[in-house]
């Protein structure tokens, strides 16, 4: 009995030690990549800003009714750090709260996209034959649906809400992930080490858990970090087209309102520039970090 317990302990200790080494290795690589570090720093800053929005700015500045006394089109400085818009609302407050929505939509849509895509991709790749054929036809079907018309239709049917935007983005972008995952599963499945595992007596579940998933995960993770900026941009697009949640400020919505209010003609750069720069910076940060992650997690890209 005690022997078994000791074996368990030593196995777990060994696994922990190995994991520690792997993590240390990954962190070491990340630390050497300055660009990725900068990207990560930007993301952490934006995330903190979104998280602590109520403490950073007064949400009264978001509401047109509460902002009736404020000057309109005020330039940055003075009472308003980033000035005010055409209704006298604080641009700074919109920017900070907008980060919340943009980040939330970006992350939530990505999680959903990756989840659907991974499950479909693994099933299709590992089952083969008619399951694969059926799932892939389904994927193709979703892949060819024109995105914007669908988004407009869904938004008008489901109503304009933040979850609906997440839903629209995931429904239209999972096929790409599914194809990617399936392709990777198919190559891993043909690897000799999968044959070896089968010859060792491994079940399908074991092969998926121990060989397919670990070899697909880095790809999924990397593609997820690259999917976040796409989702953020999509949210921006939808909001800019007036399909966003009317009750929540987002960077896309800010841009739309600035455009509608004629901020460009009035040369009110403080109105649209923060949101625009915010989108570009976050998208860039995610992309840079995602690329670095891809390199760290994929041993084939990591030439020694």
């Amino acid at each position: 009995m005690s022997g078994v317990v000791r074996a368990e302990v030593s196995r777990r200790a060994l696994a922990r030690a190995r994991r520690r080494v792997a993590w240390g290795d990954a962190l070491g690589r990340l630390r050497r990549d300055r660009l990725a570090l900068a990207g990560l720093a930007v993301l952490v800053l934006v995330a903190l800003m979104a998280l602590f929005a109520p403490w950073l700015v007064d949400d009264a500045g978001l509401d047109a009714v509460d902002s009736l006394d404020n000057p309109t089109w005020a330039r940055p400085g003075g009472d308003f750090l980033l000035g005010t818009d055409h209704l006298g609302r604080s641009v700074a407050a919109q920017f900070v709260y907008g980060a919340r929505v943009s980040l939330f939509v970006g992350l939530a849509a990505t999680v959903l996209t990756v989840a659907i895509g991974t499950i479909v991709g693994i099933f299709a790749g590992f089952s083969g034959r008619w399951v694969d054929a059926t799932l892939m036809r389904l994927t193709d079907w979703f892949l060819v649906i024109p995105f914007l018309p669908l988004a407009i239709v869904l938004a008008s049917v489901l109503g304009r809400g933040i979850w609906n935007i997440v839903f629209v983005i995931s429904v239209t972008s999972w096929p790409a992930t599914a194809r990617l995952v399936r392709a990777q599963v198919l190559t891993v499945k043909e690897r000799l080490y999968v044959d070896r595992a089968r010859a060792l007596g491994a079940s399908r579940a074991h092969v998926v858990r121990r060989h397919v998933l670990p070899n697909v995960t880095p790809l999924i993770l990397a593609s997820a970090t690259l999917a976040v900026p796409i989702s953020i941009l999509t949210e921006t697009t939808l909001a800019f087209l007036g399909l966003g949640d009317p009750t929540q400020p987002s960077w896309g919505k800010t841009l739309e309102e600035a455009f509608q209010a004629g901020a460009i003609g009035r040369n009110a750069w403080w109105y649209y520039l923060p949101a625009g720069l915010g989108i570009v910076t976050v998208v860039l940060a995610f992309t840079v970090f995602g690329r670095a992650l891809e390199e760290i997690l994929d041993p084939r890209l990591r030439e020694r």
């Binding site: 074996a7 000799l192 044959d195 070896r196 595992a197 010859a199 060792l200 121990r210 041993p299």
Partner: protein, 321 residues
Amino acid sequence: MSEHDAPIVSLRDVHVRFGRGASVRAVDGVDLEVRRGEVLALVGESGCGKTTLIRSIIGLEPVASGSIEVDGHAVTRDARSLRRLRRRVQMIFQDPTGALDPRHTIHEAVAEGLRIHRVPGDEAALVADALARAGLRPPERYVRRFPHELSGGQRQRVLIAAAMALDPAVLLADEPVASLDASIRGEVLALMRSFVDDHGVSIVAVTHDLGLAWNIADRVAVMYLGRIVEVGPTEEVLAAPQHPYTRALLSVVPETRRLEQQILHGETPDPSRIPAGCRFHPRCPVVASGEAARLGIEARCRGEDPTLTERAPGHTAACHL
């Protein structure tokens, strides 16, 4: 026949087919027995079906017809019996680099089989023991490394360690030294032989290298186009080959100088179009030289599929000659 003399693996008229409409007859009627505690070398050109044959023994290729028994148990497609089978039978591969998951450490690679079969005991100790037995000493130096940090020879030893950790009765080896440097070859072969001599395991080694057979095999089986054409004790088959194909194979091995080279033309014929009559007759030097005609057997070579007949005790060949 006592329990102990019964063959550990026996194949009866085994057929394995591939492709649309099962048109490719990769293994086309093989009868073969593997004895306990012997090394059997399965020799032939690529595409002759030798790798497919051993993969069918461990249930990696479904058998179209015929039967395979390992230690008295029939090999079936049933998941539970396959799992049991894959503890008694283990396999090592030609390409040790591809057979190791690049993301798994050496410890994980060796421990995988132990975990699958829930082998009781201290996993770390079992792994260390298996590595040491495969000549990777001290084992602590290897357990935390990844496959790409080892040499080709070391990787093959890891695979051997992982296979032998389960204490199998049969080890199937697919070209175990073909991808290794000449200098490493002998060490790996000696290791394989030691498992037979010290632990009584039986080995089926698939190879195109007759030198390997001479080095470690008790018996040699020669395979051509999905069929065994000659089987017998190594000394006999290599010193007094009965089948013209075996003779041709032997004559092109650079290490044998006694025979006049008989280079067969063309590659191995296509297993989706197996010739009628003796499957070797289109390339057979005996037919081509007219000797078969002189002996009056040419019509049979072209029209009649020869079966294995005994030429000496325990030595059979499938030839009309």
